[in-house]
Symmetry: C2
Subunit: 331 residues, 2 copies
C-alpha cells in the first residue's frame, strides 16, 4: 500500500513560500516496531508556525530540505504495539504531511469521543488551548478592560476575542480587510474591528481604543505590534503568541520602535508562551472551552480543505491571510 | 537672599545635551504658604532619566524650556507650615536644580538620621530601591542562575550586580571600557565584565554567558538589549529599567531585532517598572539594604561633585558614562 507524502523539497530561506518548495512523494507504509503505533492521518492542521519552523530552530528543531513536511494533525490508530492505544483510537500526533506514519506510542493519548471530530484540532486542539492559556495566563484580563487581538480572524485570534468577551472585556480585533472585520463584530460579537491593511490603520486603532489597551494578544509582530505598543495603557500586558508577519521571508532587519523605552515608562509586562508549557492544566481548559461551546457563547469556525495534495496551497494561503478560523486539510 | 537656579533654557530635542541648553538664573527665595515648606537643597541627584524627561511625557510630564531644571535631591527643611516636618529635617524632594524651593509638605517625609547622609541619595535612595525592586520583583533571580546587568558601573547597575551575588547568582556586568570592568570584578565581586564599546562585544558576551542569560537587568536598551535578548535562555526574565542609550538624542528609528519573535520562542518575560510602584514595600527593602551595607556585602560607590553651577556638566558627563556609582552634586 502506498503512503503519499508531501516533502519539503527545498527551504524557502528568505523567499515567500511557494508551491515549488514542496514535492509529492510516494513511499511504503512503514511497519511499527516495539512500543510504536501505525497512524492513518485524518486531518492535518495548518498553522503559521509551520512556516516559522523553516527559518531555524524555535521550540522545535529547524526543518531540513528533503524531509517530510512537519505538521500536527488528527490521526487514527490502525495498528498498536502499546497497551494504552487500540485500533480506532484518535490521537493528536506530530505525524507530518503524509497519509501514514509510525510514531512511538509514548507521548500519544487517545482523545475523547467528541463530535464533530474536527473540533479536536480547533477549539479543543492547539488553537483553542493557545487562545485560552495565552489570554488568561499571560494577558490576565479583568472585566471592563480593553483587549486587542491581532490576526483576530484566525484560529487563535477568533477564540481569544470570544473568551475575552466571556470574561467581561471590551474586545477589538485587528484583521486584514473589511469582510473579516464585519465577521468579527457581526458574528463573533467583537466590539470593534480594525483593518491593518487600511491606509489609516493607526487612526482606526486609536479610535477603537480611546482609553488605550489593557491587554494585547499578539499573533503578528511587526507594524501591528508597534502600533499597539504605543497605544498600551500603563501596567498593560502583552501576550506574545506569534509573529506571523515575520515568518514568510527573511528575518526583519529591525524590531519595533518603543522597545524597551515604552515598556519601562508604561510598566508593561510582555510574556512569550508556547501552549505546551501549560499542558498540566489542559483538563481545566478543555472543560471551560466545552462549556462555552455548549452554551453557545463560543462559536467555532473551521475552514476544511480536502486532499493531501492541497496542503502546500493551504499553507501558502493561510500565510496570506485567506482563512477565517481554523484551517485544516482532510486527508 | 538670592536663590540660584539652573534653568533649562532650551530643549535639546534630537541634539546631544550641551552646556548651552542651560542657563544660570538668580531668583528670590520663595515664601511657603499654608501647608507648604521651604527647603534648602543639600545634594541633587543626577540620573539618566533627567535627559529622558526632556524627550516628552514619561511617568512624569515633559519638561519645558524656561523652567527650572527638574531633579530630585536631598533637602533640609528650613521653614515648615506642616505638623509632620520641622526645621532641620532632611527630606527627599523633587525640588529642582536650585538652592531653595517651596513645596507642599504633603508627600514629603523626614528621612532617618543615617550617616553618611549621601547614602540617602544612593543606596537608600532611588538608585538602591530601583536596583532592589527591579532585580527581585521583575527579575526573580534564583540561586545559581546567570544575571546580566547593563550600565553595570552606574548607580543602579552596581547595586543590582551585588544584590544578585548576595542571592547566589553568577553575575556579569556590561559597562564601557576595561577600567570599569576591572572595578566590577575586582572591587564589587562580579564574576565577569563585558565591554560594550569593544569591537568584539558580542563575542565577549557569549563567552561570559556560555549557558545563556536567565535574568537580564537592562538600563540601556539599543544594541546591548538586542545582544542580550539573543543570548537569553528559555523562560528568562528581563527587567526593563531604562534605555539610557536612547535618551541623549532623537528617538531611535528602529527597535531591537528579535522582538517579539524571540520573546515567543524563548518564552521570555519582560517587565517594565518604575520604582514608585513599589513604595509600599520600601521599609523591607531599606532594612535589607542596610543589613547588607552593614555586613560589608554591599559596597556603596558615590561620585560627589561640588557646586550648583556644575550640574549641567555633571549630567552631560553622566550621559557619556564618565561616572562610577551614584553621581550627585553638593549644593
Amino acid at each position: 500500500m502506498p503512503n503519499r507524502q508531501i516533502v519539503l523539497d527545498r527551504l524557502p530561506n528568505a523567499d515567500r513560500l511557494a508551491a515549488d518548495h514542496f514535492a509529492l512523494n510516494v513511499a511504503e507504509i512503514p511497519t511499527p516496531g516495539a512500543g510504536e503505533v501505525l497512524l492513518k492521518t485524518r486531518y492535518i492542521s495548518l498553522d503559521a508556525a509551520n512556516r516559522a519552523w523553516m527559518q531555524g530552530a524555535t521550540y522545535r528543531s529547524a526543518l531540513n530540505a528533503g524531509q517530510v513536511m512537519a505538521g500536527g494533525g488528527l490521526s487514527e490508530v490502525v495498528q498498536s504495539n502499546v497497551e494504552h492505544l487500540k485500533p480506532g483510537d484518535l490521537v493528536f500526533a506530530d505525524a507530518g504531511w503524509q497519509e501514514y506514519a509510525v510514531l512511538p506510542g509514548r507521548g500519544l493519548q487517545a482523545l475523547p469521543d467528541l463530535k464533530p471530530e474536527t473540533h479536536l484540532l480547533s477549539v479543543y486542539g492547539i488553537a483553542g488551548l493557545t487562545a485560552y492559556f495565552g489570554l488568561l495566563k499571560c494577558g490576565e484580563p479583568r472585566p471592563g478592560e480593553t483587549v486587542v487581538v491581532s490576526a483576530a480572524a484566525g484560529s487563535v485570534g477568533s477564540i481569544v476575542g470570544q473568551i475575552a468577551k466571556i470574561k467581561g472585556c471590551r474586545v477589538v480585533g485587528i484583521a486584514g480587510g473589511e469582510a473579516k472585520g464585519r465577521w468579527l463584530t457581526d458574528e463573533l460579537g467583537f466590539d470593534a474591528a480594525v483593518d491593518y491593511k487600511a491606509p489609516d490603520f493607526k487612526r482606526q486603532l486609536r479610535a477603537a481604543v480611546p482609553d488605550g489597551i489593557d491587554v494585547f494578544f499578539d499573533n503578528t509582530g511587526g507594524d501591528v505590534f508597534e502600533a499597539c505598543l504605543f497605544a498600551m495603557r500603563n501596567h498593560g500586558r502583552i501576550a506574545c503568541c506569534g509573529a506571523v508577519s515575520q515568518y514568510d521571508g527573511g528575518p526583519p532587519p529591525h524590531g519595533p520602535r518603543g522597545v524597551p523605552g515604552l515598556i519601562v515608562t508604561k510598566r508593561l509586562n510582555l510574556r512569550g508562551f508556547v501552549v505546551m508549557d501549560y499542558a498540566a492544566e489542559n483538563d481545566q481548559a478543555l472543560a471551560d472551552l466545552q462549556s462555552w461551546v455548549a452554551d453557545g457563547r463560543l462559536k467555532v469556525k473551521e475552514d476544511v480543505i480536502d486532499g493531501l495534495e492541497n496542503l502546500p496551497s493551504a499553507l501558502i494561503g493561510l500565510l496570506a491571510g485567506e482563512n477565517l478560523g481554523k484551517r485544516m486539510v482532510r486527508v
